[in-house]
């Protein structure tokens, strides 16, 4: 649980402070993994005879893979248009 909690906040911190989109993506993966650990841990200690938490974890891993693919596609497009993957400089969507 402590591992999971630490992982989560490292992820949040990374997401908010890094300027590189790929690093931000990696932070998101960290957050997801912390959730996975949470699921496994809760499943083990509260409902040891069931497997629901494990199934959820497997689902999340699958979806994370898909999400990573989509995010990388977006980043590649962004790079082609803006010649940068720095999140500070991609601020055209404002008022």
């Amino acid at each position: 649980m402590f591992v999971s909690c630490a992982l989560f906040f490292i992820g949040v911190y990374g997401f908010l402070t890094r300027r590189n989109l790929i690093t931000m993506l990696m932070s998101i993966e960290l957050i997801l993994n912390s959730v996975n650990i949470n699921f496994v841990a809760f499943n083990k200690y509260l409902y040891a005879d069931k497997l629901d938490g494990l199934f959820f974890t497997i689902f999340i891993i699958t979806i994370a893979a898909a999400e990573a693919a989509v995010a990388i596609a977006i980043i590649i497009n962004l790079y082609r248009n803006h010649k940068t993957i720095d999140v500070e400089e991609t601020d055209v969507m404002k008022y």
Partner: protein
């Protein structure tokens, strides 16, 4: 009896023609539209005539009474078990008679317009509007429900607006059409309130049920009689308000001001408005509700009578002074409609006392014939002279023999000289007035004399008086009387104006559907005929040759003459009321409230929104990580709130 679908075709054919011409014909075959519309109306007329024959001679009569037949009825909007708006067809003597009159006059007008409107730029549009007008009027007379009649009533208003404003590039025509629309709309407000009052108490909108509940001693009748407002019962108010609606459409004093201006439309349209459609709608409406008026509420009927006779008399005086031939005819229409109104007003329900009702419908019928003839004749004259002013005419009798003869027939008919049509109907009206109220009778007989005078003033001024001086010689040289399409309706209507008086109307159209024997009193008719003849002789001596006598006479009564020439300043009074009183007392404060309070409130809202958004727009920075930070802050905020609530 004709099948229902064929009866429905009578109003639907003009509607289909309207839709077809407006959507397709106007664009792809403009020249053909006139013939198409005329043919479809001819079919309508034949159907209407068949229906009339069937109704009057085969199926309408049960025992000795004409029944009301409802061949078709469809509930359209159901409000409560009793109150519903229906679309239906009601056949009874007056609606069948009106079917024939409307289709006949409209057919004549369609046919006549083939020649009169030839070469007009919006020829096809004109026929489309005529179709719409005819449809609305036919729908109006066949309505089985008082709300249905109101719908068609407004349709008549719209289509007359379109037709009066047909020459929309002329400012006067635009003003006239607006005036007609607004005045009649104003009167329709009264009609609508009247409908609501009547239907509220009678708990129905259906004519048959409405009339039977309000004429028999039922609970509803007692409640409507008991409810009073400003000293009159709700029934009286309802009926008077309905009559105001009718008076607006029928151009009764003081709502007549739109009628003379409506002359801005093409002349055949005037013929249609004046003879068969719009102006008789009011008379028809009163006749439709006549049992209620006559049995339950004679006071309202008194209002009808006095308004009718006043309009009739005032219009006759004004007509003597007008110089535009179409305006003279317009005032004569108003005068004759006044006749029909007071004839209804002096009548009672059923039996011998129902003479006025029968006479009114009879006069409506004959008037449709000779007034259409007069207008079409005037149209033919205007077509020839290219002017509406009497002073531009004169001596046309040799140049336009057919128009001259038919116009003379129509003048004799409207003056009430035997054996022309107007004589019979007018005699019966006068007799009804004589039996009921001597003052009304006196005014009526005076009006009859004045009518004869001004009609023959018109006739002599157009066809006799001075020699006609052609203004454009080259133009007139190849310009004969009028094309055959214009002359044929004239001749046909001329024959009808002679013959229509011999129709035994008392057998066909009466207030209670029973046979009414009309006695012919030769001695009674001596006075009116003599008076009419006197009017003609005066007109003859004044206007046959150019003379100074009329001028002297006008100078002698200059005050009256000026007042009548300016239509008794009624237009000016209306202008004063609307411009000075209503605009200043109601319009200006309303405009102030609108500008400062209503608009101010809206502006305030807009300002607040604008300021707030200017302040908070900085939050939308476009920076992804800012958004993420807001999001996390929000989540943490919610978590804190939940924890706080939990414990």
């Amino acid at each position: 009896m004709l099948s229902t679908s064929l009866i429905m075709l009578i109003p639907l054919l003009p509607l289909l023609t309207f839709a077809f011409i407006a959507l397709v014909g106007r664009k792809y075959m403009p020249g053909f539209c006139g013939i198409l519309a005329t043919l479809s109306l001819l079919t309508s007329f034949i159907l209407a005539a068949t229906v009339a024959y069937d109704y009057f001679f085969l199926v309408g009569k049960v025992g000795d009474t004409y029944q009301q037949i409802i061949p078709f009825k469809m509930t359209w909007l159901q409000f409560s078990p009793n109150v519903s708006i229906d679309m239906g067809i009601l056949l009874d003597p007056i609606s069948v008679m009106m079917l024939v009159v409307v289709t006949l006059i409209s057919l004549m007008v369609h046919f006549y317009s083939l020649g009169y409107m030839k070469g007009e730029e919006r020829y096809a549009t004109y026929y489309a509007f005529l179709g719409l007008f005819t449809f609305s009027m036919l729908g109006l007379v066949m309505s089985s429900n008082i709300f249905q009649i109101y719908i068609f009533w407004e349709l008549v208003g719209v289509s007359s607006y379109l037709l009066i404003g047909y020459y929309f590039d002329k400012p006067s025509a635009v003003a006239a059409s607006k005036k007609a629309f607004i005045v009649t709309r104003f009167a329709d407000l009264g009609f609508l309130i009247g409908i609501l009052i009547l239907s509220f108490y009678a708990k129905t909108l259906d004519f048959q049920t409405l009339i039977s509940t309000l004429t028999h001693p039922t609970d509803q009748l007692h409640s409507i009689m008991a409810a009073s407002f400003l000293g009159c019962s709700a029934l009286t108010w309802g009926l008077v308000l309905v009559f105001i609606g009718g008076a607006g459409k029928s151009a009764m004093f003081p709502l007549h001001i739109w009628l003379p201006d409506a002359m801005e439309g093409p002349t055949p349209v005037s013929a249609l408005i004046h003879a068969a459609t719009m102006v008789v709608a009011g008379v028809f409406l009163v006749a439709r509700l006549f049992p209620v008026y006559a049995i339950s509420c004679p006071q309202a009927l008194g209002v009808v009578a006095w308004v009718g006779v006043a309009s009739s008399f005032i219009a006759a005086i004004i007509a003597c002074t007008q110089t535009d031939i179409k305006r003279v005819l317009a005032y004569s229409t108003m005068s004759q409609i006044g006749y029909m109104m007071f004839s209804l007003g002096v009548s009672r329900y059923g039996g011998e006392d129902g003479l006025g009702y029968m006479a009114s419908m009879f006069h409506l019928f004959t008037h449709a014939m000779f007034k259409a003839l007069l207008f079409l004749g005037a149209g033919s004259v205007i077509h020839y002279v290219h002017s509406n002013e009497m002073s531009d005419m004169g001596g046309l009798r040799k140049l336009m023999p057919v128009t001259h003869l038919t116009f003379l027939v129509a003048c004799l008919a409207i003056a009430g000289i035997p054996p022309f049509a107007g004589f019979f109907s007018k005699e019966e009206i006068l007799q009804a007035a004589f039996n009921s109220n001597k003052v009304i009778f006196g005014l009526a007989i005076l009006t009859a004399a004045i009518t004869a005078f001004y009609m023959f003033r018109l006739y002599f001024n157009i066809f006799w008086n001075k020699e006609y001086h052609a203004h454009h010689d080259a133009h007139d040289a190849h310009h004969g009387e009028a094309p055959g399409t214009m002359l044929l309706p004239l001749i046909f209507l001329g024959l009808l104006s002679v013959g229509a008086g011999f129709i035994p109307f008392g057998k066909l159209v009466t207030s209670d559907g029973k046979f009414l024997l009309t006695e012919f009193h030769p001695t009674f008719s001596i006075a009116p005929v003599l008076l009419a003849a006197l009017g003609i002789v005066i007109a003859w001596s004044f206007y046959k040759k150019q003379s100074q006598a009329p001028q002297k006479m006008a100078d002698g009564m200059s005050g009256l003459y000026q007042a009548a020439y300016h239509k008794f300043y009624i237009d000016e009074i209306y202008l004063f009321i609307t411009k000075k009183v209503i605009f200043n007392l109601v319009g200006r404060p309303a405009a102030w409230i609108d500008r400062n309070i209503v608009d101010g409130f809206m502006n305030l809202l807009a300002t607040i929104t604008g300021t707030v958004s200017a302040v908070i727009k900085g939050m939308q920075s476009g920076k992804l990580q800012n958004y993420a930070a807001y999001f996390f802050a929000g989540v943490i905020g919610f978590v804190l709130i939940f924890i706080y609530m939990w414990t």
